[in-house]
């Protein structure tokens, strides 16, 4: 407006000039258009945190199981065993030697080790107890073959040769174990994906209801924004900003809590809190999500924050259509 117009309006209002308009220092940061207190706050942060925590545990556990199963499979596939049925000692020893010679002459086999009676005894200890004298029992002799990992070993041929030359010998390539482990890993992965889908659905539904409630609570604000010419996109962005903050906060709490659990499990054996012993130090040692698992948890946090914001945006748009 021009100065003349200013003076005219000024005079119209007050009947007398008011002097030069002052420009007081004002905070540059404007208050939120949607009052923060009316957006479902702490409760929703808690819900998002719990959901992210569950999702992160699922991701971490599934990846840990998968990685551990893969390691176990690799270990199992790196070794094969030849068993010689027990018989007369001299004959059995000859058969063992013949099997060792055959194995050593096979390409792709890096090492051959015949289990000593003490080693065999240790293997049987969980079932038969300690202090066992194997001399009285028809315990088969076990020869462990370590593969060189190049895949050159022709195990079917070795198996045929063994059964042709040493009828009491059998070759076990641990295929059954390997297949079971693969099946278990797949099952855990599928279950994890299913659980993640449920957690995601629950999170989205929670955010939808919270957003609807927030829009309903702020209906008067939305109406005023409409009447002063705000586009739906502008109004949706006001709500989206709040929900992004809520999603990020809840996601971080949930994700960091899950990371803390995994790290605690990883450091528990070193903490000295567990009783000493080989089995105890391996307590939950398999539950290590690895870098990929922690990256997955980070991705879950980001996804939850963005999904929370996006869900609120879509919900606000839909709600606005009903209050044009």
């Amino acid at each position: 407006m021009s100065t003349t117009e200013t003076e005219r309006v000024e005079k119209a209002i007050s009947g007398a000039p008011m002097g030069p308009a002052g420009k007081p220092a004002r905070p540059s940061r404007a208050a939120a258009i949607v009052p923060r207190a009316t957006v479902a706050g702490r409760a929703l942060v808690a819900v998002v945190a719990i959901m992210t925590f569950l999702a992160s545990l699922t991701i971490g556990t599934a990846l840990a199981v998968r990685a551990t199963a893969a390691t176990w499979r690799a270990d199992v596939k790196r070794e094969v065993t030849i068993q010689i049925r027990a018989g007369e000692k001299a004959a059995t020893d000859a058969q063992v030697q013949a099997a060792v010679d055959l194995a050593k002459g096979t390409a792709g086999i890096a090492g051959v080790h015949v289990l000593t009676p003490e080693e065999t005894s240790r293997l049987l200890e969980p079932w038969l107890g300690a202090g066992l004298d194997l001399a009285d029992l028809p315990v088969p002799r076990v020869i462990v073959l370590r593969l060189d990992g190049t895949g050159r070993a022709d195990l079917p041929r070795l198996k045929r040769t063994l059964s042709d030359r040493i009828p009491t010998a059998t070759l076990d390539d641990h295929r059954n174990w390997s297949e079971r482990l693969a099946l278990m890993a797949q099952g855990v992965t599928v279950t994890g994906i299913g659980l993640l889908a449920l957690v995601a659905l629950a999170t989205i539904l929670t955010v939808v209801f919270a957003t609807r409630a927030a829009v309903a609570t702020n209906r008067s604000v939305v109406e005023v924004l409409h009447f002063v010419g705000a586009r739906d996109g502008f109004i949706a962005a006001q709500f989206q900003r709040h929900f992004l903050r809520i999603g990020a906060e809840g996601g971080l709490i949930g994700g960091l809590s899950a990371c803390a659990i995994f790290l605690a499990v990883a450091f528990l054996p070193r903490s000295g809190l567990l009783p000493a012993g080989e089995d105890q130090t391996a307590f939950l040692g398999w539950l290590d999500p690895g870098p990929l698992g922690f990256a997955g948890i980070g991705l879950a946090v980001v996804t939850v924050a963005l999904a929370t914001a996006l869900t609120s945006r879509v919900t606000v748009y839909r709600t606005l259509r009903t209050i044009q």
Binding site: M1, V9, I13, A21, G22, K23, V228
Partner: protein, 222 residues
Amino acid sequence: MASVVRFENVGLRYGMGPEVLKDVSFGIEPNSFQFLTGPSGAGKTTLMRLMFLSLKPTRGLITLFGRDVSSLDPDEVAVLRRRIGIVFQDFRLLDHLTTYENVALPLRVLGKEETSYRAEVTELLQWVGLGDRMDVLPPVLSGGEKQRAAIARALIGRPEFLLADEPTGNVDPTLARRLLRLFIELNKSGTSVLIATHDIALMDQFDARRLVIADGRLYVYD
């Protein structure tokens, strides 16, 4: 120049109820000044809601700045509303924003930086006598101050059409006269003005066109 608003045989009913507006036809021209009056409950506010696109008519044609409002999408409605300033009977100030922020709201929704409109808003608040109440929240403003804040908010976007619903309903006669003078000055600067009121004394202070609504029908006295 196209009419600011044009109604042709507009009718409105709520749900399955009787028609509250019947065959309403009139136009509001650029730079015009008019009062809308009638008994309480006659439909003044309803007619104004139709004018700022808060309601859709059951029948008839409404054009706003030459556009048929029935064919507008939400974004086009928002753009048209920016050309209209509205002063609500109940002010509709946002209680969690200061007077300054309430008045600046129409500029803020346009995505403007606060630094670009700070001086303008401050100046307008000085004009309406709220220079020392800028940082106050609406709940502590008096009725008259709220009224002036609502008027300032309606004016900050330099509207082509100003709609004021009972703008003097909450103020004393002296302030009512001042506000009327403000609206007259705005009209002189090129804004079309429509003031809904049932205050005969106020209307008698200024010779202007009168739209009288009664029994759902509109009568125009030029």
